[in-house]
Symmetry: C2
Subunit: 505 residues, 2 copies
Amino acid sequence: MAGRIANEKFLTKVTDIETIVKMVKDGDKIGVSGFTGAGYPKAFPVALAAQIKAAHERGEQFMVSLFTGASTAPELDGELAGVDGLKFRTPYQGDPVLRGKINDGTTYYSDIHLSHLHNQIAYGFFGKLDWAVIEVAGITAEGELIPSSSVGLNRTYLERADKIVLEVNQWQTEDLFGLHDVYYGTEAMPPNRQPIPITAAGDLIGQKTLKVDFDKIVGIVMTDAADRNSPFKPLDDDSRAIAGHLIDFFTTEIKAGRLPKNLFPLQSGVGNIANAVLEGLLESDFEHMTSYTEVIQDGMISLIDAGKVDVASATSFSLSPDAAEHINNNAAKYRGKMVLRPQDISNNPEVIRRLGVISCNGMIEADIYGNVNSTHICGTRMMNGIGGSGDFTRNASISCFVSPSIAKNGDISAIVPMVSHHDHTEHDVSVIITEQGLADLRGLAPRQRSRVIIEKCAHPDYKDILLDYVAQAERVSKAMQTPHDLTQCLSFHQRFNETGSMKIK
Amino acid sequence: MAGRIANEKFLTKVTDIETIVKMVKDGDKIGVSGFTGAGYPKAFPVALAAQIKAAHERGEQFMVSLFTGASTAPELDGELAGVDGLKFRTPYQGDPVLRGKINDGTTYYSDIHLSHLHNQIAYGFFGKLDWAVIEVAGITAEGELIPSSSVGLNRTYLERADKIVLEVNQWQTEDLFGLHDVYYGTEAMPPNRQPIPITAAGDLIGQKTLKVDFDKIVGIVMTDAADRNSPFKPLDDDSRAIAGHLIDFFTTEIKAGRLPKNLFPLQSGVGNIANAVLEGLLESDFEHMTSYTEVIQDGMISLIDAGKVDVASATSFSLSPDAAEHINNNAAKYRGKMVLRPQDISNNPEVIRRLGVISCNGMIEADIYGNVNSTHICGTRMMNGIGGSGDFTRNASISCFVSPSIAKNGDISAIVPMVSHHDHTEHDVSVIITEQGLADLRGLAPRQRSRVIIEKCAHPDYKDILLDYVAQAERVSKAMQTPHDLTQCLSFHQRFNETGSMKIK
């Protein structure tokens, strides 16, 4: 314990989690660490869930509002949702139990851009935060905090919550020290804000540790528990094809003089497909690449290890168990090659636009005019959330969306007449890629886009009914800028709801 | 002439417009000055339209691609569209003739964020530009250009086009010199871009003039013609009510400590309602306000003259004839109180977010979950375009949309179950205001938003059918995050298409 808490004063705050959670009340607003299953508190949520369950069994009302970096883990979102303990949740989630509670109406979910939540809290959109519950890898002799495997909104919550709980997780290696860059400039409010001085992906502009107001610390608990690290699916044919189309596109752009040989910094969304695209880049000829992205996944570590990527900036790890063990044993050797920042910096429009980041994110569906749905199945059912995809897409030099062209054995087409929920509009999407091909939408008007998207990206099983829709829409539409038949534009989704397939039987 | 062209070398380039337009060819890509009817070339488009018309009469193909700052005027967009001369148009328009050609399919129109076009051209999305045709107020002894009443994308076009045409318009006052701030930093491409060093609305970071490569100048023509300046509608009851709701909201926010007494810098969209809101602020108690916006309209000049606004930053004027005459006679006295910048700076996400700009834009319709349609009537017919509304909305501290709650004598409701076209998503909209009231959506999940929007903003004639839709959607929806009945969500628009009214007869 003393090894992880190098400041004696802080040792006096060490206590047990039950003592702490007894102070949590119905309606409290709790900001916790955690981003894509990395660096979330391991003890507090489970203890709080038990207390909420007991309260409910006594017939008492007890629900809290939960703020995180992004998604967390079964022992956080899952536990609290499982006891109907979450009244409100923001900004992102990916837990099956919580997803159920959101979609059955138990939990109000505000799905917002990950770079925006810092400002929205700072500007007072959510009122005062009661708690900050933050996992750290250690406490320095100077009384500052060594972040663990994610930074997320830890700075924001520590600066603003009334009460602070620290979980010192001994599973996290102390060698993470030096991989973080905590910038405090965005804590200033207008008119006192200055430019964020990042001009290259690896620039260090902050400090290695998080500050903490000792007097606000309610308790410190020791934990020793692994992050929720899930294995990635192996590279399949679809992912390999998508990565191939992207590499071909980059190669063409370099030849045309529109991209430098080492590309612009890459952003890659969270999940299997995005990771597979990174794995695919291992087989490319590009060298000295950099990454300005949200999470460091297995594929990025492979690219760094292979010497293809010089430096990667993110806010969190998102690793398989094997890769997590590798990082835990080798963190020190990645100093200078990786940097974890607060998420309002990792995802900041200012920096993304300045660096010319190329974004690449997964999607649920795209429509024939290039609008993208990242969040809702058939317009109503929340899957995960928009996450950082909007932060990057809107500000990227080239914004790509990737998906296999079909899902559910072909009953769902990723290309539809009109998306059933709009997260990214026609104004923001440059490139759409499926295993079928790549649609380059740059500089095209809507009616030009519809031809290219269907030709290049739609699955053969859906090409004809999509072209039929285009013909029908252009026949009945009152105008030709964005032709639609309003009685048929959502017919793919209506058919799926009614028959279980978007295909016409 | 010599007075306006202070460099003798440039005098040798003066010629007549017919000589110049003879060099334009079918398929040429032409970047012209002009933003909301200010500072567009007056001679070139009319002469080009005549030449295109003559070519068509000879049975020859002749269409061009036209790039501007934003909307222009009848003698530019109207003339060229009127002779079927526009194959492609970007990034914004507001001309009735061109609107017709876009909606009948003659002209391909790429409707994009105004801050994005500089980068999209610089990154090569549209290929090489053939022409830059730029109106200026004069040419300095040093051979640089004094911009006229807008800056727009003049720097971008001058830097990149093969051939340059200058129109020296003697109607524009030379006293505009000193009101412009032309920043060249965003001409650098990644990885060589630096932070944009604006930390307050009035900061001057560039130069007063535009650079020009003398050798690329094909010709200089002298003109003497007024901008297309249209009178604003007088303040009506709806606009006064909307302005009142906004002032009440600001007052509450200041009392709650969420806004400083002089607010954050204001952005105000283009047009009558936005101008009316500014006029409304004349009657507020706020002082020492600033503005970081896109255009300076009459209302902003009134606020500056009244000493309520200290400084306004924009890319263009957009004035009534009376206000234009006032500026032409008094431009010098506004130095230090107004600054016109390139539109990739006036609308830049980096600066908007840093300054905490409060955005306020008009809309066609909003839906019950806070999505906004700024562009398409009934999902298909282009009205004008997204303009800068996305640049500001996505990055503002508080993003407001305003509209009267009904249009066309009540046959159209501005609040609908699902917008028929999505330009701003639920993730981006903080506040919706109609004459009925103000819906504060900050921190709310979709089902919370639907109640507030209908209660505060919908017209009484539509409240019941909107609430009926909510009940129906929540009954049939497969999930409760964003309940929708996909067979009914566009029923308001379908009914309007069929019966001429969104009301149920």
